[in-house]
Amino acid sequence: MSRLAGWGHAPSPVWAVIRREFIQRVRSRWFLFATLGVPLLIVGGAVVPIWLTSRSEAAARTVVLIDRSGELGDAVAATLGAAGYTVERAAEVEEAEARARVAEGRVGSLLVLDSTALTEARARLVSAESPSALRQLGIRQAVIQAALERQLANTSTSVERVMGGGTLEVETLRGASGGMADPAFAAAYAGSFVLYMIVLIYAVAVMRSVLEEKTNRIVEVILSSMRPWQLMLGKIVGVGAVGLTQLAVWAGVAALALATALPAALRARPELGQIAQLRSLLPDPSFFLYFVVFFLGGYFIYSALYAAVGAMCNSDEEAQQAQFPVMVLIIVPVFALVGVIEHPAAPASVVLSLVPFFSPFLMFARAVGGAAPPWQIALSIVLMALTVLGVAWVAGRIYRVGILMTGKRPTVRELWRWLREA
């Protein structure tokens, strides 16, 4: 790595700083936990119970079917079979025996189709313990579907489609309207919030790192062999690379979960099929692209600001106070987020989302929700890039003077002087 980017033959100190920040952080227990542990816990929390119940219900999945209607038995048996049940047909006279088997737990349940099943979709379910709502729903739908199919056999009605809830194709002519009910905006809201959290976490990590070097004075040794901007740049890039690594791992785990765990869960619990529609609500690839772009923009802006805050303080307590103005800047978009999502096309939303300090969260939400025209997204990215340069210029100057300064925290007037003098 250093050989590629070195100046002449000497390794570049910036690479050394980047590597140190990256390796030290990635190796920490906290990183391992947050990066691998959290997603595994979430996936595990969702998948394990499904898996467990599917194991325990293997016996319970057998349904004894008694058909008193004399018409629907085959159709119901077929639907239940497709839904993962083992169906065992029995004659009416065997009902008492079947009840006994259910009571002993040798079969899961007994389903009796009433004589009025064809006209009223009436049936009786006998099971040892009360069946889950989901199971009741599945069995009920199987009966309804069989009845309707029989009644409408000579028409071209697709009962399965109608029963599946029909189809409503939504076409919007003037862009997305916004609001939490819109799945794209729900994803935008969640995404924005996660963005805010990780931008803040990593920007504050930069501040802490600057502060650590300053308070333990190792910075005097480090700056005897590189310029302050090199140290600041290396630190920001190194910590940012850790953030990107974490995002990549999270995205990978999510993809893996969708690719393996979800189908496995569906196999185990066919009645979850309805939930599988959730898959259509999942964000498309552009979500991740926007996420990375706006993470980089937000991270570079705020980490540079936090680096400057760290450089002008001498202790954690001082930094707590000094970061207040930056904190206000990053919190404004969080408060504005709900409003922007409810009214993504309102002039105020457009203006706020174009403010570079807010764009990482607000323009992200509008872009993911599909409410921002491409030119606005492009403009916000350009403005963010320019702001990164401006913030780097200002923060670099504050950092340069502040990092070796001890004693009292500078006043605003002193900061202004640092900017002009440097």
């Binding site: 250093s2 000497a10 390794p11 100190p13 050394a16 700083v17 140190r20 030290q24 650590e212 070097e213 333990n216 004075r217 190792i218 910075v219 005097e220 040794v221 480090i222 700056l223 005897s224 062999s225 590189m226 310029r227 070796l404």
Partner: protein
């Protein structure tokens, strides 16, 4: 003119109303071991920080290897600051490799050198331990290694021996002398006069931000011969106090008296005889650095 590694010319640095360094001239010739001596708060650390470009002088000029103290010059220096900093959570070897790398030592070479130095300072068992697991003395040795890993031409050490036990002081002294033998220049500050006396060829004595005495140690001692009287006596000792005496060190068999500038030692002898003391010894001796220090930097000294 000799080749100067460090040159300060009329350098002044103020912090608010307090003048920390006041018109200081300092010239460190190549290949010398130079001691920056002075009491606490005399401006030694401020001076060193200006040489390292950490502080900018308000007036005057600082030259490092003949130019401004920019990074390319500072990288040739092994700098040990007074306030020692480490990354506490890094492993010892990683810290050393990192600090060598930012001064241009490729990683494999840095690793080899780090292991060799850790071995030499009897820290080889701690290579892969975290810095925070080390004792303070061990951390100080690690910091010292970090200072010399890139084989600098100039060592600038701010109070390098403070807080070390005598055995480790000797070890580090040996390493400093080793570097000097191989051609490096050494500039270090201390208020431990015995150490300075053993190590230094040249000294600059700073008091209240000014250089009050500067030159070759041997020369200075010769010049200051009249400044110290060794006495051995019986009887009253009231005569030891007088306007000529600005410092004294009492030993079981007598005392060393440090005399002020231009003091008349005969006056002391007359007073001793008059007091009735029996004088066994009254001799002008070559002063120890400690005594010169007291003479120039003490409360009534020439600062």
């Amino acid at each position: 003119m000799t080749d100067l590694v460090v040159g300060l010319n009329g350098v002044t640095k103020q912090f608010g109303r307090h003048t920390a360094v006041d018109g200081l001239d300092l010239n460190v010739p190549r290949g010398s071991i130079y001691g920056l001596l002075g009491p606490n708060g005399s401006g030694k650390t401020t001076t060193i920080r200006m040489i390292m470009g950490i502080l900018r002088p308000d007036e005057g000029r600082v030259a490092l290897f003949g130019g401004d103290p920019v990074e390319s010059a500072r990288r040739r220096v092994g700098y040990l600051p007074e306030e020692r900093g480490v990354y506490r959570r890094m492993k010892v070897r990683e810290l050393l490799v990192f600090l060598a790398e930012i001064r241009g030592v490729p990683r494999p070479l840095g690793r080899r050198r780090a292991l060799a130095w850790l071995d030499r300072l009897e820290l080889s068992g701690w290579t892969d331990r975290k810095v925070e697991d080390l004792s303070k003395g061990m951390q100080q040795k690690v910091q010292f290694i970090a200072t010399v890993l890139h084989e600098p031409e100039l060592l600038i050490l701010d109070e390098p021996f403070a807080g070390l036990d005598p055995i480790n002081q000797d070890v580090l002294e040996g390493i400093v002398l080793d570097f000097h033998r191989r051609g490096a220049t050494v500039l270090f500050s201390t208020h431990l006069m015995d150490q300075a006396e053993r190590l230094c060829q040249r000294v600059c004595l700073i008091s209240r931000g000014r250089c009050v005495l500067d030159g070759e140690l041997r020369e200075i001692k010769r010049r200051e011969r009249k400044g110290v009287v060794a006495v051995a006596f019986e009887g009253p000792d009231g005569w030891l106090d007088g306007p000529e005496v600005i410092g004294r060190e009492v030993a079981p068999d007598g005392a060393h008296l440090v005399l002020g500038e231009g003091a008349d030692h005969q006056a002391i002898l007359r007073r001793a005889v008059a007091s009735g003391a029996v004088i066994h010894r009254f001799e002008l001796v070559e002063p120890r650095l400690h005594e010169i220090f007291v003479r120039y930097a003490g409360p009534r000294g020439g600062g």
